[in-house]
Symmetry: C2
Subunit: 698 residues, 2 copies
């Protein structure tokens, strides 16, 4: 659980984000929209810088990665192949009482006494009659009526004798209570008999929390029956059961029973093209006679369903062959993409950490299967062979070395933009956590203010990026679903294969065959399909000799928005200073690394009413501006202007004063540069300013 | 209409885009998805460069523009305020015959003879009986049966006498035809009578095009009735009508009648959040008894409807106050945004020019209303006052000068990335074309290969960007719909107002009042609403004295994808060269401006098997790489490598040869730089290379 101090920290961060224009609630003037956040002027710059740095590091700075920018809406078949249509969902439960919907795995266990009700009948006519009896008699009267009804019911066709006997008993009962002005029992019996005909038979259970009166459980049950058309529910059989252990079967808000969990897809759906009718065209005033026609047309429209991508990765797999063929790359190589993705999260939370619209930076780095590496190089480098600190891609790397390489690369990236190793964490997914096709997945974590502490008070952190070794699962799936070959031809492999001894060939072939067999038979349902899968695995294994294989992939997949939040949380700092008069003041400072800082330099003329200072300052601004984002400010005292830039996270401020103009001749054409983090100031030649700043911000 | 040559040009461009990895069809391996395009490695770089240049020019290079990055999914109320929910639609018609859907304004007028049919009955039992008669008798037999039926029908309760008379007539008729082995007319009559009971009464019209046989019109009509449950339609009354003028009332494909045009919204819809049930949850196997419940839940779900933004502009208006309050900007200032937008175009066309998912670069530049400018400056600069070539924002500019300024700025931007004025066009929207709230809109056009020629053979071009003067419409709408004030406070105005003579105040106040009145009364429906609107206009006008007003806006709105297509079309060139042996070869070259070119420089060692050349070349690559996208290539002859870069549009190639290593000592540490456009080569010192290239690409 988050502790108060940590929540306070998040509150301060959210508040600063809004106050300084880093992050606003989307559609704020309309009350917002849950799970959507906008980036204001400073946030937009910060985000651009981060994406640009990633793109630089991943594509432009390397020979072995090509870029891609695919659409958000793609063929829905892509999401069938990827498995998202079938499995990308959260288990949801509905409360049968308050009708709210919850994520099944977020229900807090509760304990208490379970009240089981078997049904209810409408007492709106019966109860007013009963209430004419004095309160102390009502229970007895009611049970008499019910017994009366039970006796009566036992007779399928009661004889006059029996009817008279019952009437006599009723009279006797009435006489005992001496309530002459109360309605006769026969009248109560009539209303009861009618109401019971239309009773609701649905059983309903309610959990009574410790310390609550039994009546509250009945009240909750009554609401349940009211929603099912019983206006004034009189509850039928009631049975209680003491729980032995806490359960997640009841609503945390109203303690009604929950439904069984049902999967709720996290993909946003929409329709593409001018469908004749879609569910979205449905209007409540549709003529009921036309419903059948409407549904028929509706089913036609279903063909036009499409999804907003829940990840950017799949487009890379779908365009793998196009990129391979046009980019002059050879395996190993990667395809990188930055772009929006959408997940209809049930409970967006932790500010921008888990939102419904977010941005990803994903690399799919395609590598040779280990069998191919071994065929070409004779061996596959193991982890201990490669010193992490000096990792440099080698041709004998198998998936483990490549996986470790990318974990290292990505950690270096985070360090390079100001997230020190102490603020980061690493989580190696266990066999249980891994997807069935994945061989390994390492998460890089950041210690957010909302990150949970373990029992020792240690914070592991929350995921910034996952680096997964996904085998050849994705390309194989797309090959199977599209019918288009997704493999590559590698002449190095073909040449090497011919020179291998027979035993080696057999060994490698068998291992490759087994891997393909495992994959291909997984989706085979009939024995014919199993046969076909085995045949295909055999063919795939034969491909090795021809230089053919399906590449494996290492996937470093990072979330932009959570990285921005990490950078903001990491940069956030408060400094309390005391002035000469002993007055203390707390100022806020965003200690962004100069590489990501939204504004690189503030440029100030010392005084705004001295045209020569202003002119010179604007010259400096115009000198720097083509190379970086600068902020020209002439308003208020220099101290105020520094403070503003501190809050914006600007690492450097440049002030043009009279010395710049030559008041002290030896300082002509020098400026004061002031460092955000320590407030230090020094003079620099204007001619050296650009080079100095460039060296810091790149 | 596009001419063959132009189509050929587009075909070549589309082909090169795919071949070189500029643009791929989205989801190509799954047969694509109409209206969606992916950018391959070169296209992604090109697009990034263009967006980055726009962002630089519009925000970082200016003091008066702040950036924003808002979500694609926003509160649906934004689209009510903007008017999109009500009016952003295309008129659509459905063909009653083939059921296809078309844009009403894209139906080609047709002429011919209209066949009107009043209905049909099922002849599946009647026709086989009729067909037992020899073909030459069938018409007579059929009309006899119909006449018979008519006679019979005239008698509500026919007497035996009449029945016998009819029978006699039938016998006589049969005797005349001497067809003893044909079925009796009474049998035909019985089947006809039964079939006519269940006839389809829907009228149907079909257009018979000139030169087509009448039978084809009947066949089309029969299909119409088949779709309405008549298996073997025998057409009832047929009436023809010769058209005087061409009409758009009939399907261009099957010539059946079209429905009246209905609006089809161009916004993509989706649902946000875990709605209990949405139309999208509908499954065809739903229990019919549960339909009512389903629809009730469905209507609940409708509250969660959301749209994919059809433009980026509205987020800027919605966040106007947040940006104003956090960015230290004062009117006039702008907010810029780059991002995806979605329109469910009925007919996406012209490659990426009109697609369903696209990217926009939009600036909303907020200015003072003319009355405010006049109050502060005493006058409003008119167009002739400002020389376009020396436009520099002045405080006395009204909307016209600001509008012209932004048209000029944007044209300069296009020139700066290689689109010369000759390739561009300008269209000033006429009063008829303008939105009711807009004061002016100037479109900047590019002459695409598919752009139409007018009767003089001139090409106007198609829209790259529109620069609209939108008055204070947008902010006013959001103020009205959100209930949140969208106006600003301007102390300059307040100070100036107090010094104005009474007559001037009255004059300005009246003009401002009239403008507000026009806007506010437009949406008033009842007399109470009109009164409220007038009161509000009065209050708004009173605000001037307090320094309050709602800013007006100039909106330069550009499409990224169509700009990319313009740059590609503009860059595309073929060069046919003839070698020494007289063999001619056509090579393709993309003459991108260095600022937008995906790759800025190719870096080649002369030979790949000379380690010292390779090492030096990689040093040069690593020298340039932090500053620009370079492509290192050691494969094939230098000529081939040049040609590859020509096709990619790389403006410069740098070759490292033995002279670089000092073979000719005076050339030590020099490289050959080769220019794409003219093939010119010159030597440059390695130490000067970076500065030289930077000067060209920035």
């Amino acid at each position: 659980m988050a502790e108060p101090k940590e929540n306070l920290q998040m509150e301060k961060i959210v508040s600063l984000c809004k106050r300084r224009g880093f992050i606003f609630q989307s559609s704020e003037i309309y009350g917002g929209i849950n799970g959507f956040w906008d980036y204001g002027p400073l946030g937009a710059e910060l985000k651009r810088n981060v994406k640009e740095l990633w793109w630089h590091a991943m594509t432009r700075q390397r020979d072995d990665v090509a870029g891609l920018e695919a659409t958000i809406i793609m063929s829905p078949k892509i999401w069938e192949a990827s498995g998202h249509v079938d499995t990308f969902s959260d288990p949801m439960v509905d409360c049968k009482g308050c009708k709210k919907r919850f994520r099944a795995d977020q229900i807090e266990p509760q304990t208490g006494i379970v009240y089981h009700f078997s049904g209810a009948y409408d007492g709106s006519k019966f109860n007013p009659l009963l209430n004419q009896y004095p309160p102390e008699f009502r229970d007895a009267v009611k049970s008499q009526v019910l017994e009366f009804a039970d006796d009566y019911k036992k007779q399928t066709d009661p004889s006059e004798e029996i009817v008279n006997a019952l009437k006599a008993r009723a009279l006797k009962f009435k006489a005992e209570f001496k309530q002459d002005n109360c309605p006769p029992l026969t009248e109560l019996h009539k209303e009861y008999s009618e109401a019971i005909q239309n009773k609701c038979d649905n059983a309903n259970s309610v959990l009574l929390l410790p310390g609550k009166p039994a009546e509250s459980a009945r009240k909750t049950a009554m609401q349940f029956y009211q929603q099912r058309g019983i206006n004034t529910p009189n509850l039928l059989d009631e049975r209680t059961e003491k729980l032995e252990a806490p359960t997640t079967c009841f609503c945390n808000e109203c303690q009604s029973e929950l439904t069984e969990p049902k999967p709720f897809t996290l993909m946003f759906k929409t329709y593409v093209g001018p469908v004749n009718v879609s569910a979205l065209d449905y209007k409540p005033d549709i003529d009921p006679k036309k419903l059948e026609e409407w549904f028929k047309a509706f089913n036609e429209g279903e063909k036009n369903i499409a999804y907003l991508r829940p990840e950017t990765a799949q487009a890379i797999f779908a365009q793998f062959k196009n990129v391979l063929e046009t980019s002059r790359q050879k395996v190993p190589f990667g395809i990188a993409q930055v772009g929006k993705a959408f997940r209809n999260e049930v409970t967006p939370r932790n500010f921008t950490f888990r939102s419904r619209e977010f941005e990803q930076m994903e690399l799919e780095f395609f590598i040779k299967p280990d069998e191919v590496v071994e065929a070409i190089c004779g061996n596959v480098a193991t982890l201990s062979d490669s010193q992490p600190s000096t990792l440099n891609p080698q041709s004998n790397w198998g998936w483990q070395a490549w996986h470790q390489y990318w974990v290292e690369e990505r950690e270096r990236f985070y360090e390079g933009i100001g997230l020190s190793r102490e603020t980061l964490g690493v989580h190696h997914q266990t066999a249980n956590e891994l997807a069935h096709y994945a061989r390994a997945c390492t998460d890089i974590l950041f210690k957010f203010p909302f990150s949970k502490k373990d029992e020792h008070g240690n914070v592991a952190g929350d995921e910034l990026e996952g680096i997964a070794a996904r085998s050849d699962f994705d390309l194989s799936q797309h090959q199977r679903f599209s019918g288009k070959p997704m493999g590559v031809f590698d002449d190095e492999l073909r040449a090497a294969w011919g020179k291998l001894p027979k035993e080696k060939q057999d060994d490698l072939r068998k291992r490759y065959y087994n891997h393909r067999k495992n994959y291909l038979t997984k989706s085979a349902k009939t024995s014919e399909e199993v046969d076909a899968a085995l045949k295909q695995a055999d063919e795939d294994a034969n491909g090795l000799a021809k230089g053919q294989y399906i590449p494996h992939v290492i996937e470093p997949s990072a979330g932009v928005d959570r990285l921005i939040l990490a950078l903001i949380a990491n940069a956030y700092s408060e400094v309390t200073s005391t002035d000469d008069k002993g007055k203390s003041e707390t100022i806020y400072m965003m200690k962004f690394h100069p590489r990501v800082a939204p504004i690189k330099a503030g440029v100030f003329p010392l005084l705004k009413n001295k045209p020569e200072l202003v002119k010179k300052a604007q010259e400096v601004r115009d000198l720097l501006r083509p190379w970086m984002n600068v902020y020209y400010d002439e308003g208020g005292s220099i101290g105020k202007r520094y403070a503003r830039q501190d809050e914006a996270g600007t690492p450097f401020c440049v002030t043009i004063d009279f010395d710049t103009l030559g008041e002290k001749p030896e300082l002509l054409d020098t400026v004061t540069i002031r460092y955000r983090d320590d407030g230090r100031q020094e003079r620099l030649k204007t001619s050296e300013l650009l080079a100095f700043l460039l060296s810091k911000i790149r």
